[in-house]
């Protein structure tokens, strides 16, 4: 990716190192949820202690004052290092990294220089010791700045990875939702093929019309996987093919009607949404019923509303039953298309269920 660029392409990195990417607050919310690693705090704490001990030993001959001064500088630097690391974790930008890093080196250098000069005057340190203290302090702060640099790089890559994961997950979920509603149920396909096989083998006249309907159904269903929306007209055609196939298979056990109102043919729907409602009416209403039943699909216009109703005279089982995956997915996809739309399932007085889809018209 970056290896194709010449060495001078991003010259700012020589003066102001760090990742270029800046995350928006929304991106931080999505990808930046990981907490600050506790291990870093422990590591810095242990290092500070070791350095205080080492420093005290090295300055043994200078007396107590330089030892205390050294310890104070080390502890102060560690606290600053940790606090700023946490702040960088929350907002990992290149600007903040560089301001913090160079600021720390400059500040600690000046502070250590002044401090050791004062100590030379007051405590009468030999001239070399003050220089050593200042040098060690500056080196120490440079190490901290390098630590920050790697922390920011790590953090930015972590957030980028999390964002990519979330994106992939979202894409998978969306596909899942689409497949769940716009799918061809294998049960339906193989049962239809079972009837077809029998009628073809016995030379039954019902074979040809069923094959035609099945062909039309498949032709209408397969493109649904690639689409985000389709018209009510196409959706109703699909439902008619589906019901004609079920009619051929179930015979007298199924009666159905589809009534539509002119002017709504181009109303846009999530692909397979109406079909899902009709499939539910068949699977949960008509098929489990000993005497079969009736399915009525109606499209009505009411003021600024299109109402699509699928009613079955169903099994008389508990209704509304717990809404299956199909229905909640259909509702989600409908709401994605029309935030003010409604989809509900109610029980009928004489048994059976009614699914109602209400879509506001422009």
């Amino acid at each position: 990716m970056t290896d194709a660029k010449p060495w001078y392409a991003d010259w700012t990195q020589y003066f102001c190192p760090g990742p270029r990417r800046r995350f928006t607050p929304a991106e931080m919310l999505r990808g930046g949820a990981d907490p600050f690693p506790v291990g870093i705090g422990r590591y810095i704490g242990v290092n500070a202690l070791v350095m205080v001990v080492a420093f005290s030993l090295a300055l043994q001959r200078g007396g107590l004052a330089p030892q205390l001064f050294g310890a104070a500088v080390i502890l102060l630097t560690s606290c600053i290092a940790l606090a700023f690391a946490r702040s960088l974790w929350a907002k990992p930008t290149r600007l903040r990294l560089n301001l913090g890093g160079f600021g720390l080196m400059l500040g600690v250098g000046i502070l250590a220089g002044i401090g050791s000069a004062v100590l030379e005057k007051v405590a009468g340190l030999p001239p070399r010791v003050g220089g050593v203290i200042a040098g060690i302090a500056a080196l120490n702060s440079a190490m901290v700045a390098v630590g920050w640099y790697f922390l920011v790089i790590y953090r930015v890559q972590q957030i980028e990875a999390r964002l990519r994961e979330r994106e992939a997950q979202d894409a998978r979920d969306a596909l899942q939702r689409r497949l769940a509603t716009a799918q061809i149920h294998p049960h339906f396909v193989f049962n239809t093929l079972a009837s077809l096989t029998h009628w073809v083998e016995t030379g039954d006249a019902r074979a040809a019309p069923l094959l035609k309907e099945f062909n039309a159904y498949l032709r209408a269903t397969l493109p649904m996987f690639e689409r985000e929306q389709q018209s009510l007209r196409e959706e109703l055609d699909l439902v008619r093919h589906y019901l004609a196939i079920m009619q051929a298979r179930m015979g007298e056990r199924l009666q159905w009607t589809v009534q539509t109102e002119p002017g709504l043919a181009e109303l846009v729907l999530p692909p397979g949404s109406l079909l899902t409602l009709v499939e539910n009416a068949i699977t949960h209403g008509i098929e489990p019923s000993l005497r079969g039943g009736r399915i009525e699909v109606q499209v009505q216009r009411e003021a600024a509303l299109a109402r699509v109703v699928v009613a079955d005279s169903g099994a008389g089982l508990d209704c509304p039953p717990d809404e299956g995956l199909g229905l909640s997915n259909t509702r989600e996809r409908l709401l994605a298309l029309y935030p003010a739309a409604r989809l509900q399932l109610t029980g009928n007085d004489q048994g059976g269920c009614t699914a109602t889809m209400e879509i506001p018209l422009p």
């Binding site: 294998p186 093929l193 029998h198 508990d318």
Partner: protein, 250 residues
């Protein structure tokens, strides 16, 4: 043993199965072809076939429910499930060594099933012993019980099922007996039993369904007949031979 029952709610697959079986197993006889689970169970009780070919998705009782009831009988028939597509159930059948056929049917596959059936019959083996557990695991939770609606003249009485002591079929009606009295309803017993909780209501005869909480004792009359005594009631209910394994003591 060469008598079989087939059940499928759709006409074409049912006829396909009947036709293929007639070709592949000419010496056997199809005693019943049913279009729902309720009829399949009832006919199986009446006719006692040696093999039942059951579609899984059927109205009334599902094929799994019919199989579960059949497996509790004194001489349970062999079960072959027929299904269009149901990967979860098929995997379970594989594990339980139960036989199944996939629609559309294939003549060769059917031959193999028949060979396996005959082997099992020759060995006089009962169905796979873990059939009960397997079916229990596949069966959906029982639906809730609705009150029984009995018309008495112009009045419709609602009877909560748990208050019923027993149901008995009586020609074209079903007699509903409660502590307060009796009522007649039109719903056939075989359809009622599909709606009732099988843990509470035990079928003890093709025409009797009894609330297990009201059974006091089972009385063996002779080798073949058994009767149930009810708590606080004088009448006795017959237990047909097929259901006698329900009362074998522990």
């Amino acid at each position: 043993m060469n008598r079989y029952l087939i059940a499928d709610d759709e006409e074409a697959p049912r006829e396909a199965l009947r036709r293929l079986l007639a070709q592949a197993w000419p010496e056997a006889e199809c005693v019943a072809a049913c279009s729902n689970g309720v009829d399949a169970w009832d006919e199986a009780l009446a006719l006692e076939p040696g093999v039942c070919f059951l579609d899984i998705r059927m109205p009334g009782l599902t094929g799994l429910e019919v199989a579960q009831r059949l497996s509790q009988l004194e001489r349970p028939p062999q079960i072959v499930f027929v299904t269009a597509y149901n990967d979860q159930a098929l995997a379970a059948f594989e594990a339980g060594a139960l036989d199944y056929l996939v629609k559309p049917l294939d003549a060769e596959r059917l031959q193999r099933t028949l060979a396996r059936l005959q082997q099992r019959q020759a060995a006089a083996a009962a169905p796979a012993p873990d059939l009960q557990a397997l079916l229990q695991q596949l069966l959906p939770a029982r639906r809730s019980m609705r009150p029984i609606q009995a018309s008495l003249g112009k009045e419709v009485r609602l009877i909560p099922p748990e208050e019923v002591i027993y149901f008995e079929s009586d020609a074209r009606y079903t007699r509903v007996v409660t502590a307060e009295g009796e009522a007649l309803i039109r719903t056939p017993l075989k359809e009622l039993l599909a709606q009732l909780d099988p843990e509470l209501f035990w079928q003890v005869h093709r025409s009797v369904l009894v609330n297990s909480r009201h059974i006091a004792s089972a009385l063996r009359i002779d080798e073949n007949s058994m009767q149930l005594c009810l708590k606080g009631r004088d009448e006795r209910l017959p237990v047909s031979r097929q259901f006698q394994p329900l009362f074998r003591g522990q």
